[in-house]
Amino acid sequence: MANAIDLNVHHVTRIEGHGNIRLKASDGTIEKVEWQVPEAPRFFEAMVRGKHFEDIQTIVSRICGICSISHSLTAVKAVENALGVEVSEQTDKIRSLLHYSEQLQSHTLHVGYLVAPDLLGQKSVVPLVASHPDVVKTIIRCHRVANKWSELLAGRITHPVTLKIGGFSQLPTEKQLLELKQILLDAIPDLQAVANVVLSLADKLPDFNRPTEYIAQSKPGTYPFYHGDIGSTDADEDVPVEEFESVVNEYISPQSTAKWTKWHRDAFAVGALARFNLNADWLQPMAKATAEMFGLEKGCCNPFMNNVAQVVECVEVVEGGLKHIEEILSDGIKPEKPDVKPQAGQGAGCIEAPRGILFHRYAFDDDGICTSANICIPTNQNHGNIQKDFEAFAPQILDKDPDEIRLLLEMLVRSYDPCISCSTHYLDVEFV
């Protein structure tokens, strides 16, 4: 049976940024299957040169609206590393608490607004309001909790304003933290409801497995988002952040001029599933129970399960957040006044953005003016793995009708929660 497929998905919808899918096959043989990224490049590494060390985070926060807190925090950590600044335990803990909020914000947005329509057979969240009003309302409540959480600590929801080199421009009060604690406690039933909805639809997630190397922050004994070395499911020993370039090994793919990354294999994956595969032993109790509910276990190589790992992490960050609040309150909030003097130096910073591990490096002259930058972004690290998944997944679904093939390939891309605005200094502009 001649089965010719010629699929061009120009600008995949319900993802952050612009990406294209190209599939050409006939008689069950694939001639071409490609994941392409035609986003306009923005040249952030060039833009920050000549800017003062205090202003770097304000610029690079604008790499991504969804993960602006992660970009700001990574920049702040890298700048402090370059300038030899040590921050207080209090600053460290409040930053980590703020960073948790972005995981909840981003994962809720992704699972609730961008992925749920696929699982419920709709084209966007708008028709879901009529077909599944209770589900939508629960998702909205969770998203609002995350937004309130980041607004309280960052000064607003997107593009934080309270972060300073060495500390904060404004600290939360004990009263505000107690209110936040109550908001988080109240959110737990909603998070469990979301987990149950996803569980009821989990059979819609394709059963596709491809052995994959996963890379994430690693700090044995913790499920880290904020502090850790670089760990891999293929490596016995972690690598210090200072050596991140030796992990990502950026290269030019022969089929694409995009810079991709690889370490022990021809590609690797980062993100919620990578973090789970490395660190699941140290999840908080409720998060661990959520993973068990789905039967999600370490060693999972099904990229579609990244969505489930995100649900698990929503629970993890609320539990972790509550613990942080308790610790901050029991220590008492002490006023601090960051005062940092410029000096020449260079330094790297690393954090787990919602989509995976994120690296920044900056160098400064004697006046604290930036002389060079290097930024390595999670979606960029996933592009090569999406391509490898395409090559393995497409042959398995060629007998399906074209609309279903298209949906499945789009779902595969969405499962990585790509954030293409972030990854735009690496791109393949073959307009199809």
């Binding site: 600008h11 919808t13 319900r14 993802i15 952050e16 940024g17 612009h18 986003e39 306009a40 490049p41 923005r42 040249f43 590494e45 060039a46 833009m47 920050v48 040169r49 000549g50 800017k51 003062h52 202003d55 610029i59 604008r62 790499i63 991504c64 609206g65 969804i66 602006s68 947005l109 607004y113 329509p117 084209k123 966007s124 708008v126 309001v129 909205i140 998203h143 609002r144 937004n147 960052a154 000064g155 607003r156 929801i157 997107t158 593009h159 304003v161 309270t162 904060f168 421009s169 404004q170 030019i252 001029t257 605005s421 735009t424 200094h425 791109l427 393949d428 502009v429 073959e430 307009f431």
Partner: protein, 247 residues
Amino acid sequence: MSKPRVAIFDFACCEGCQLQIVNLEEEILDLVALVDPVEWREAMSEQSEEYDIAFIEGSITRPQDEERVKQIRERAKVLVALGACATIGGVNKTKNRFEMKEVQQCVYGAHADDPHLDTYPTKSVGEVVKVDYNIHGCPIENSEFGYVVRCLAQGKTPELPNYPVCVECKLRENACRFEFGEICLGPITRAGCNATCPSAGAWCFGCRGLVDNPNVNAARDVLDKYGKTVDDLMLKVGLFNQEQEQV
């Protein structure tokens, strides 16, 4: 009367302004009662070539983007620039301090000359096509987005603030950032954000662009009073307002 058809498009940006629309949560449903969303790639799978009102997020940084935005302009009755990248070029314009060839070499090294990595100096949307209304900010205030949509749906002209951030900052009874030895762009920046940044202990970054006819003399007096120079100010102005001619 049928509801106006609304489309949202994005160019070079972080898509954070679209995120502020998402953050309206239930209020989006009130807006959908007034207008008919026909294309919004980040949130919906539907696409359309017929629309009355087009919102454009992001800056124009490549020849092919210029063609695309011109086509949108031809199709739309009303075109609204959404957020600082679209209204004033925003942080994307910090690139314009350098030669483009040098910028490409800085990021792409040996591949700087690859044709698809081409870029040109960042332009705001208004530098390429006629813009009917601007929704300022990095990111936008979503209440202002809701206000503009309601106005346009009812055929009214949205009125946006044309006074400096200092006015809103005073109303919030914030201590002046200059008192902390900082440079603040509040005196020359268009209000409408309710002085978000100074209220969180930070200085105004100027993301809403300059107020029309900024009171430069008064701003100079403030600088003098606190022992700051115009050069100090310009280093900060250059974050979001590179190439704003009024400065």
